[in-house]
């Protein structure tokens, strides 16, 4: 790229540079702000903050473990449900369906991503929760009730409901990224596999193998979305800071506790505790998204090199 030296270009370049630098400044200042504001709880509790499970603001007990646990468990439930479905959709769209079928389905999947999360939450309260309480939960308890996972009181509100909502919300992003990754696998590989006499299923296996790290990246991107989702989860997860292995029992996520309590955190230590939880979530999503980006660009870069 040639750099010209007219005044206009120079000003143009510096404006662009400022725009780019701004985002770095924002990220750094956010981390700095959160770190400095969470100092009081870091000093008061240290590591106990993360490993203690007692959360009782009125007694000054701040243990964030129930929120970390709830965030991880609801996200894992979401991945367990969403990953097979998203993979299925993406493979169908790229490997099987003709454009006439693929286009409307792809459009519908993208439409799911455009629905505001509060709408998902309302749907969760009015449709999904009663469905789980009256049908799915009853069925699970009848046939799988011997597993402690499915025991307990059925209110329709709880960890499982939160996980299912999240699963629906992260399906579009996983599907879209997996589709891009599969399309990045060069056609020559498919042709080679077919030429060697592979069936469609065997060809797909070859493609999937080539796209493995990109697919893993897509899953991690979905995980990143699930970790930070707030509104919809808050409305159906039950918001109780407890650690339980029972899926029908309520839980609590980091994002939910932040959203629910910031406005009324009267005690400085309480405020600081909330900031520290926010910092934890920020760091985790930061790392998760970074890992995902590395994985996805890995496959795209490789595919390009092969094709070139």
């Amino acid at each position: 790229m040639k750099q010209t030296n007219t005044t206009g270009d120079r000003i143009f370049r510096s404006i662009l540079f400022i725009a780019a630098a701004l985002i770095i400044i924002v990220v750094i200042s956010m981390i700095a702000m959160m770190a400095s504001n969470s100092l009081p709880t870091i000093r008061a509790f240290g590591l106990d903050f993360i490993i203690s499970s007692e959360w009782n603001p009125s007694d000054g007990a701040f243990g964030a473990l129930p929120f970390i646990y709830g965030t991880i468990v609801s996200s894992v439930i979401a991945l367990v449900i969403s990953v097979p479905v998203s993979l299925g959709i993406a493979i169908f769209l790229t490997e099987q369906a003709g454009p006439r079928v693929a286009r409307p389905i792809a459009f519908l999947v993208e439409l799911l991503a455009a629905i505001p999360s509060v709408v998902y939450g309302l749907w969760g309260i009015f449709v999904l929760a009663p469905f789980i309480r009256e049908h799915l939960g009853v069925w699970l308890q009848e046939y799988l009730g011997f597993i402690s996972l499915f025991q307990g009181r059925l209110t329709g509100i709880g960890m499982l409901t939160g996980g299912i909502i999240l699963a629906i919300m992260i399906t579009p992003i996983i599907t879209a990224v997996v589709r891009d990754v599969l399309e990045a696998v060069p056609t020559t590989q498919r042709e080679a596999a077919l030429a060697l006499g592979s069936t469609k299923w065997e060809t797909t296996q070859v493609v999937l193998m080539n796209a493995a790290s990109g697919i893993a990246g897509a899953v991690v991107l979905g995980l990143g979305r699930a970790l930070g989702e707030t509104m919809a989860v808050t409305m159906v997860i039950g918001n109780v800071p407890q650690i339980t292995t029972k899926l029908f029992e309520p839980g609590y996520t980091i994002a939910s506790v932040l959203a629910a309590n910031f406005a009324e955190a009267r005690d400085p230590l309480y405020f600081s505790a909330l900031i520290e939880i926010g910092l934890l979530l920020f760091l985790v999503t930061f790392v998760v998204n970074g890992v995902a980006k590395l994985m996805v660009t890995g496959i795209a870069g490789r595919g390009g090199a092969v094709a070139g």
Partner: protein
């Protein structure tokens, strides 16, 4: 053309800046010696509790009709944020459902803080139980036992004892509570602690034993869960329950009567608590005596500095509060708030007369 672009930009920026400066200087600064002086509109900025927001908005609009030069903006940011805004003087007045503590008053940067009660509210228990025709009746200890998970079934003998002849289902009770910090929870905690030594939770958050309940955000969240989930019981503001026609529990009060929350029973609680109400009006009227008093009633307050730095603003604030606690009270009932009892209005008057600016009383 290309080289002239930046000059256009600079010219544009300087023109915009000029206009902004001109706009600022034209903004009225409230320099008149009286808030209602013609030509000098005064703007007050208040922030705090969300519970009284509907009535404050009503007052602001009605007051604006009478005194067009007084503008009051109220933001419902939550009681804690309201207290913080007052302490740090980022708002002209604060508002809170619970009175400020002594430490919080000490941390206020603008000197002594006055508590002006404006209206009364109440916390009611709402439930979702099929087949009940009359309101469910509960005594205080039963409520505590339900919230502590000691009473697990709706047909528990303790509940049945309060509801003779009512056919209660043998289903599990699910408690729905506020998961966000709120003045509603604070009043409810306060009441439960008063009626039972077993209740140890204080403040704006509720913590329940494992497996007792589910949390929801705000009044609408609690209402949504209770409406949607059979066999639940939760608590919300009276105004909210009335506006949405929720079934509410008749609660046994200190005098032993089962009382439903209503505007009359809440005002009755305030009137009964008069004798024990402190001079500074930081009152706690839960579990008040009196045959008709509803036990989970509370005031909501406007918080203002006794010494107002800005005389014109202070004058408008004092006049507005005077009007709100007198003429303004007639708007309360329609919005399901209980108006102040006359005895309290008299005591509010003496508090408002303390407001001054630079040593001059604002309401002589």
């Amino acid at each position: 053309m290309r080289a002239s672009n930046p000059f256009f930009l600079y010219a544009f920026i300087s023109v915009v800046t000029l206009f902004m400066l001109a706009g600022c200087s034209r903004e009225p600064m409230g320099s008149g010696n009286s808030g209602t002086a013609p030509g000098g509109a005064v703007r007050l900025q208040g922030s705090g509790a969300s519970f009284p927001k509907p009535i404050y908005e009503k007052w602001v609009s009605e007051y604006g009709k009478i005194y067009p030069n007084a503008r009051v903006d109220y933001q419902s940011t939550g009681s804690s944020a309201g207290i913080k805004a007052l302490q740090q003087q980022t708002a002209d007045f604060g508002a809170s459902d619970a009175p400020m503590t002594d430490e919080e008053m000490k941390a206020a940067q603008g000197g002594e803080v006055l508590h002006i009660p404006t209206v009364l509210g109440a916390v009611v228990l709402t439930y979702n139980l099929e087949g009940l025709t009359a309101p469910l009746r509960l005594s205080p200890q039963t409520v505590v036992d339900i919230f502590l998970g000691r009473i697990k079934k709706w047909n528990d003998p303790k509940i049945a004892a309060d509801n003779p002849g009512v056919n209660l289902p043998a289903t599990d009770i699910t408690v729905v509570y506020r998961s966000d910090g709120s003045g509603t929870t604070s009043v409810f905690n306060d009441y439960l602690a008063k009626v039972s030594p077993d209740w140890t939770v204080k403040g704006q958050n509720m913590t329940l034993p494992q497996g007792v309940g589910i949390g929801a955000q705000r009044n609408d969240g609690v209402m949504g869960q209770v409406r949607q989930t059979p066999n639940t019981i939760g608590y919300v503001e009276l105004t909210f329950a009335k506006a949405n026609d929720l079934p509410v529990v008749a609660l046994k009060n200190a005098a032993g009567n089962f009382v439903e929350a209503s505007i009359e029973s809440v005002t009755a609680a305030a009137a009964e608590a008069l004798a024990t109400t402190q001079e500074d009006l930081r009152a706690d009227i839960t579990n008040a005596g009196g045959a008709n008093a509803y036990p989970i009633s509370s005031y909501t307050y406007v918080l203002a500095y006794k010494d107002q730095k800005d005389g014109s603003k202070g004058k408008v604030l004092a006049d507005f509060l005077w009007w709100a606690t007198h003429d303004g009270q007639k708007f309360a009932k329609d919005l399901h708030y209980a108006p102040l009892p006359p005895e309290i209005v008299a005591r509010v008057e003496s508090r408002l007369k303390l407001m001054s600016s630079g040593g001059t009383p604002l309401r002589p």
